[in-house]
């Protein structure tokens, strides 16, 4: 069944004022349409319960992102691409930036708007848990004026909201008060792009600062710091995006330990109200909800231990920024293996933080010559071996590089013999064909996956494979730079 366009009216008033005036003349009769990523799908399926539509796409009043001292005001007509491209959102509201990247594919991100996503009110929408966790507020507008209300509670039931028939969402306000929080967002679904979540989480928390006393008493290990503030929101587990108030309640003020994690997990499972649908089952969703909360707590705990580590990272960078050139080159060399890369990195100092360090590395790496790429390739041991094939430029760098290689390949060391043998054979075939060792970013990959990649890449032509090896080496450098920062 398909809709006949002759049955529908669509008007484009061109200004916010004209749009709300139209809504006010016959409230409930007009359906606003922005980028159409939801409305047009219903229209195509002849399931649209409206015959009159008013286009609010690209209205300038709705499509701006204002940054003030206290909040970011995201116009409701801002697309997911607009949100992704806003640096302050990436740095202060990373869970929203990440959800924007998960929403649909690029074409849908170019058209889908944050306001549309809120009004469409799907409990599975990827960005809504982030808005809950960040204490977002909404500004609604009509001919009667504007009103401001907390986003939490805006959805009153499945696909029902507090929006009056003559109102539009004008903006979403994000309070800039989450510096020092650990932010965590994750989507569990068939794939990130173009797949609706089975369950998604947005969670953030702040631990109480470790006191000097804690450090003194416990010596080198920092004792657990209590959770000072914490918010957890989930999508696809209830008729509306859900903030887990009870779970938060059992966690705030406590120090994370295994029994607390297990209590939080149980509380979360009891708090969600998921359903069975085509994407998943209620049972699975409950279990995943609990696991996502537990995962967040483990990450939070690790980050707490890392409050020192994070500080450590900036110390490493500060010391490196201040070091003489040749020392700086040697310090960073094990991350790549190409002396020219290390020299260029040292020459680009000072680098202000981890992000700048990582993007500088990418830039330097891409502009190296093929000879230097080869040098970096040769600084690695074969997958499944531990000694490098090349004479390293310094012994210390070589030792560090080998130690990292062992960590990166730890899953291979524990793999079964058949896979190890197949890898050794694949390595040999690869070296015969391409004249160098097989470069792959092994971190987080199983031996079986590595074998699959090796076999696939054996089919590449020389040119393509060289580029692929260079891309893998780029990823290795990124992983190693992060480890290097941790000291």
């Amino acid at each position: 069944m398909r809709s006949d366009p002759a049955d529908y009216e669509l008007v484009a008033p061109g200004s916010l004022q004209a749009a709300v005036a139209l809504l006010a003349r016959s409230p409930g009769e007009w359906l606003p349409i922005a980028g159409g990523t939801d409305v047009m799908v219903q229209y195509a399926a002849a399931k649209l319960p409206f015959r009159k539509l008013v286009s609010i796409w690209n209205l300038p009043e709705l499509r701006s992102i204002e940054v003030t001292a206290n909040e970011i005001r995201v116009g409701a007509g801002s697309t997911y691409t607009d949100i992704r491209e806003q640096e302050v959102i990436e740095s202060e509201f990373p869970m929203l930036a990440r959800a924007a990247r998960w929403t649909g594919g690029i074409a849908n991100q170019n058209r889908g708007t944050i306001g549309g996503n809120i009004v469409n009110a799907s409990p599975a929408a990827d960005s809504l848990p982030a808005l809950l966790a960040y204490d977002a507020e909404l500004i609604l507008v009509s001919v009667r004026g504007e009103r401001r209300l907390p986003y939490e509670g805006f959805h009153t039931d499945y696909k029902k909201t507090k929006l009056a028939p003559d109102e539009l969402i004008r903006a979403v306000c994000l309070p800039r008060k989450f510096a020092g929080y650990v932010h965590h967002a994750r989507k569990v679904g068939s794939r990130n792009a173009q797949a609706i979540s089975k369950v998604c989480i947005a969670a953030l928390a702040r631990l109480a600062p470790a006191t000097a006393m804690d450090r003194k008493v416990v010596g080198r290990t920092v004792m657990g710091q209590p959770i000072e503030d914490l918010r957890v929101a989930l999508g696809s587990v209830a008729p509306v995006p859900l903030r887990l108030r009870e779970t938060e309640h059992v966690l705030i003020g406590k120090v994370i330990d295994p029994s607390l994690v297990s209590l939080a997990q149980k509380t979360a499972v009891a708090e969600v109200r998921p359903i069975n649908d085509i994407r998943s089952t209620a049972k699975y969703r409950s279990a995943v909800a609990g696991n996502l909360v537990a995962e967040f707590l483990y990450l939070l705990n690790a980050a707490g231990k890392g409050t020192g580590a994070d500080k450590g990272a900036s110390d490493v960078l500060a010391r490196w920024n201040a070091a003489p050139s040749d020392a700086a080159e040697m310090q960073v060399l094990p991350c790549c293996g190409s002396l020219k890369w290390a020299r260029a990195m040292a020459a680009r100092r000072p680098l202000k933080d981890e992000d700048v360090l990582l993007t500088t590395s990418d830039d330097v790496w891409r502009h190296l010559g093929e000879d230097d790429w080869m040098k970096a390739f040769h600084s690695h041991p074969r997958i499944g071996e531990s000694k490098t094939t090349a004479e390293s430029e310094t012994t210390e760098a070589a030792q560090k590089s080998e130690a990292w290689a062992r960590q990166e390949q730890e899953t291979v060391a524990g793999a079964d013999e058949a896979v190890k043998i197949a890898l050794a054979e694949g390595n040999r075939a690869y070296e015969q064909k391409f004249g160098r060792i097989f470069i792959v970013c092994a971190t987080g990959k199983s031996a079986q996956e590595l074998l699959g990649m090796l076999r696939r890449r054996l089919l590449n032509d020389a040119r393509t494979e060289f580029a692929e090896a260079a891309e893998q080496q780029r990823q290795i450098i990124q992983v190693r730079l992060r480890k290097w920062l941790q000291g």
């Binding site: 669509l10 008007v11 484009a12 980028g35 799908v41 195509a44 690029i106 074409a107 990130n192 173009q194």
Partner: protein, 172 residues
């Protein structure tokens, strides 16, 4: 920007004249405002390069560029394309001379049955306009809204990487 055509269309409640630029040439179509850009391109303008796959923004085979931005033309009512500049696959080559992406797709075997190819090329062109030398991950993300059921994607990713390398080489 979309013109204020409210009074006119609400009175007439029928087809109206909508002007837009398609592949560089000014065009005027008579259409119901809710007609999909995809249908107007294919049925009125004879540009059948954009394909209808899913009709709900999931597959990317109807991808076109509006003012340089990648969109699924099955989700765009024609009224929202008024006064914009639309580029379809038919506008990618310079006359008989293939675009670098088209050449790279041919060379790498990035096209098989051809249904997804116009969308793949437009999504790739949008990606390269934003990131001239994308990483493999960036290529995958840039094409994540375009589904191919033949090639297994690898050849497509290779084609985009090749076009990027050649583009960079020729710009230096």
């Amino acid at each position: 920007m979309i013109h204020s055509s409210m009074s006119r269309s609400s009175e007439i409640h029928g087809r109206s004249e909508i002007s837009l630029t398609v592949n560089g040439a000014p065009r005027t179509v008579r259409a119901f405002p809710m007609e999909r850009l995809l249908d107007v391109l294919r049925d009125q303008l004879g540009l059948t390069g954009a394909k209808e796959g899913c009709g709900e923004g999931e597959c990317g085979s109807c991808s076109v560029l509006i003012d340089g931005t990648l969109v699924n033309s099955c989700l765009v009512p024609i009224l929202q394309a008024a006064d914009t500049s639309v580029v379809t696959i038919e506008g990618i080559a310079a006359g008989e001379r293939l675009h670098g992406l088209q050449k790279a797709f041919l060379e790498c075997g990035g096209a098989q049955c051809g249904i997804c190819t116009p969308g793949m090329i437009l999504a790739s062109s949008h990606l390269l306009s934003k990131k001239p030398v994308p990483t493999l991950d960036e290529i995958k993300e840039g094409l994540s809204g375009n589904l191919c059921r033949c090639t297994g994607y690898i050849q497509i990713f290779e084609a985009v990487a090749r076009a990027a390398r050649q583009g960079e080489a020729s710009s230096q």
